[in-house]
């Protein structure tokens, strides 16, 4: 480890968005040739910190020093010029160009304006070899599997000879041996003297790769320590050791018989052999880390994706849901994870969004009964506390919390027997979070069977009657109420044998 100034020193970084305090005076130091892992639950501020490093956001307070020199990073292109390579989780490659062209996009080796093919291929091959990535420079990126595209994205960052590379959840969509290939690449980059920031939920990877580990919680730095001798349990304790300040109201509710029954549900490459039940009035948590397949299971139960094998029953009768229509008719409702993409129609009003999935009830022979629709919309809006309850305003003029309530209202309007919630409180201010949980409680009380996916362990533990934990597409554990966050994390990270 060179004694000169570290490749990167971020000190006293704070950033807040209206309603959310994302980061509070966080410090980070990464030396050249060192792998510095950052761990923490969803919403702990990891991505925000990295976006500040990449110049996407400017910090409210705090300084960034590169090689000891204080700098202000204006934007992504400025960051790249300063030798900061970013590899985001969602890949940003050009599918219609070759691997070599993607790696050298923007500044390919050329003579008199013409691409020097040989030099291009050689340069790409060199980078790929150096990283030990078995990808052919001439292949079209669009035709590569995700794992190889991931390697190309890393090679692209590496090709601009950066001093610092940030890898954000690089193995989330990789299988075990694909991840191994990635580790070799990280080793090579480390040997080449690059400062590597590695963000991952897979604690085993952190132990195997990292030299230093920083744990974030609720936007604050918990601890930075050497990775020497660290165990998953230590990390989990640091990540979650918080007193349950925000108490989640949990009203005890009589549990009825099984409403949702899922047997041996499988879909190639996503999940395999899923068995789970949810009883009336019961809130069942579905935990697991990013890429464990929770959303994929939910989408298959609801009918957004088609399962290869297995059966789903609601109140005993089987549901062949290969379209959402069948899911809704069988009494299933699915509040999606990505509110912007799958939840709302921005151009439509609150009323129109609320009744979208249940127009059948408020129309006769295809004609919408205006008064009936207004009544349903107003009832649901007030019931869920959408404020201000003006149902004729465009939904995109409302806050994130209110928008989530509108999506809830949409699905409650279909009077579902089974309600699947996918990250219901993500990106929502604390006030709205409490409202949503009280709604969930009321629904359970009314006998609805609720399956809740959430990455916020305290929330899952506090609210669920039972918890299934998914690890790499399989149910790795079924934990009773009262289980500890450590139990969940161990199951989620594959510590506990299924």
């Amino acid at each position: 480890m060179s004694t000169s100034a570290p490749a990167l020193r971020m000190s006293g970084i704070s950033k807040s968005f209206p309603g959310i305090r994302a980061l509070t005076s966080v410090g980070l130091e990464v030396a050249a040739g060192e792998v510095h892992a950052i761990v923490g639950e969803n919403g702990a501020g990891k991505s925000t910190l990295m976006k500040i490093l990449a110049g996407v956001y400017q910090p409210d307070e705090g300084t960034i020093e590169l090689q000891g020199e204080a700098v202000r990073i204006a934007g992504p292109i400025d960051a790249r010029k300063r030798g900061i390579g970013m590899v985001y989780q969602e890949l940003n490659l050009v599918p219609d160009l070759s691997v070599a062209e993607n790696i050298t996009l923007g500044a390919p080796p050329s003579r008199f304006g013409f691409v020097d093919r040989k030099a291009l291929r050689a340069r790409a091959a060199a980078v790929l070899d150096e990283l030990g990535a078995k990808v052919h420079p001439d292949d079209l990126v669009g035709s590569l599997p995700v794992s190889q595209q991931q390697l190309v994205e890393i090679a692209k960052a590496y090709a601009s000879s950066p001093r610092i590379i940030v890898l954000d959840e690089p193995t989330s969509s990789l299988s075990e041996n694909e991840a191994q290939a990635l580790f070799r690449v990280v080793e090579r980059m480390k040997a080449a003297g690059i400062a590597i920031i590695y963000i991952s939920h897979r604690l085993r990877e952190v132990i195997e790769l990292a030299d230093q580990v920083t744990v974030l919680r609720d936007g604050r730095l918990v601890e930075t320590r050497s990775a020497e001798g660290i165990t998953a349990a230590d990390m989990i304790r640091l990540m979650v050791g918080r007193d349950l300040t925000d108490v989640f109201p949990k009203t005890e509710v009589p549990i009825g018989d099984v409403v949702l029954e899922v047997r041996d549900l499988s879909r190639k490459g996503e999940f395999d052999g899923i068995d789970l039940d949810v009883r009336a009035g019961e809130i069942v948590g579905l935990a697991g880390i990013v890429g464990a397949g929770r959303t994929e299971v939910a989408r298959a139960i609801f009918g957004l994706d088609r399962a290869d094998r297995g059966v789903v029953r609601v109140n005993g009768d089987p549901v062949h849901a290969h379209q959402p229509r069948q899911g809704v008719d069988a009494g299933i409702a699915y509040v999606p994870e990505d509110r912007k993409r799958d939840g709302l129609i921005p151009q439509l009003t609150v009323k129109e969004n609320i009744t979208l999935a249940s127009l059948g009830e408020v129309s006769t022979a295809g004609w919408i009964r205006g008064r009936a629709e207004r009544r349903v919309a107003t009832d649901k809006a007030t019931e869920l506390g959408v404020s201000p309850p003006v149902i004729d305003r465009r939904v995109d003029t409302y806050s994130g919390g209110n928008q989530q309530k509108v999506v809830f209202a949409k699905w409650l309007a279909t009077k579902p027997a089974v309600l699947i919630l996918d990250e219901p409180t993500r990106g929502v201010d604390v006030g709205a979070k409490a409202d949503i949980h009280s709604i969930i409680g009321q629904l359970a009380a009314q006998g609805t069977a609720i399956l809740m996916i959430s990455s916020e362990l305290p929330e899952v533990l506090a609210v669920s009657d039972r918890i299934y934990v998914l690890h790499e597409g399989r149910v790795s554990a079924e934990l009773p109420r009262g289980a500890s966050e450590q139990d969940v994390m161990r199951a989620a990270t594959g510590e506990v044998a299924a």
């Binding site: 160009l97 070759s98 070599a100 062209e101 001439d138 079209l140």
Partner: protein, 321 residues
Amino acid sequence: MRSITTVGAVAAVAALALSGCAASGEAGAEGDSLDICYVTAAESHAYVTPANKAFDEAAAAAGATVNRLSQEFDVQKGTDQLTTCVSQGADGIVLWPLDPQAYIPGMIAAKDAGIPLIIINSPMDAAAEEYYDSFTGPDVYEEGELSGEALNEVLGGTGKVVIIAGQAGNGTTIGRTDGFTDKLAELGSKIEVLQVVNADFDQQKALEASRDLITRFGDEIQGVYANDDTMALGFIDAWKESGRSLDALPPIVGINGQVQAFDLIRAGQYYATIVQSPAEDGKLAAETIIKLIKGGSVDKRLPIPLTVVTSANVDSVEPAF
């Protein structure tokens, strides 16, 4: 990244190379039957379609084969088709010019290739004269004059009229409109032309243009001259639509001698039409080109007879189509 269609280029070159060796076989078989290349105005038009039919019949009668290329009223397509006829080595070319001079380069090529060429139905610029052997068909300029005479007669030499002209820039339109106005000047008539609108020899466009004319000038219109009967029908539709009675229709003069015009003359809602039979137009052109191919000589200008039809002789004259 080698392009995905390198093979595309190879195939293209192959096609060209292939043509090199397939030298045998002239496109138009020389043989005995005469090969006429007929570049007509269109395939679906009130006047053009019967003319094409008559042309084919006359050619078949003389044992000639006709390769008909339809311009669909597109001058650009017509000039290309003319060059095709020349390169096909046709024995004779009949051209329906939609433009007074765009075809001249093509006609020069025909002359160089020694292929006899005549033009049918529409006149061309004087500059084109040396490049065609004969112009058969109605004398549109004369038709314009006859119409001018007829309208001037019925209006007693004064009054305000509107002109519904054909396709802008088309030889027939220019001939018929200029013939009309020149005749009025020649007769010293005090008829004033309120406006000239173009309706492309199309009833629907004439209807829309007439609606605007009637709104703009209304009862000021004391006379109507339409470059053909089809467009005149459009004016009458517009007149009815504006709620005016048919008896108050100003005198209308049209050209073609269509059946509908004859009925309207009998009903007193149409002053005169000039019979220009498309069948004769087609037949005369076919006979002229065949005579030329067989080495005969023909006059530079072969008009088809024009008869002005009014209520007086409406029953004794055959409608054109």
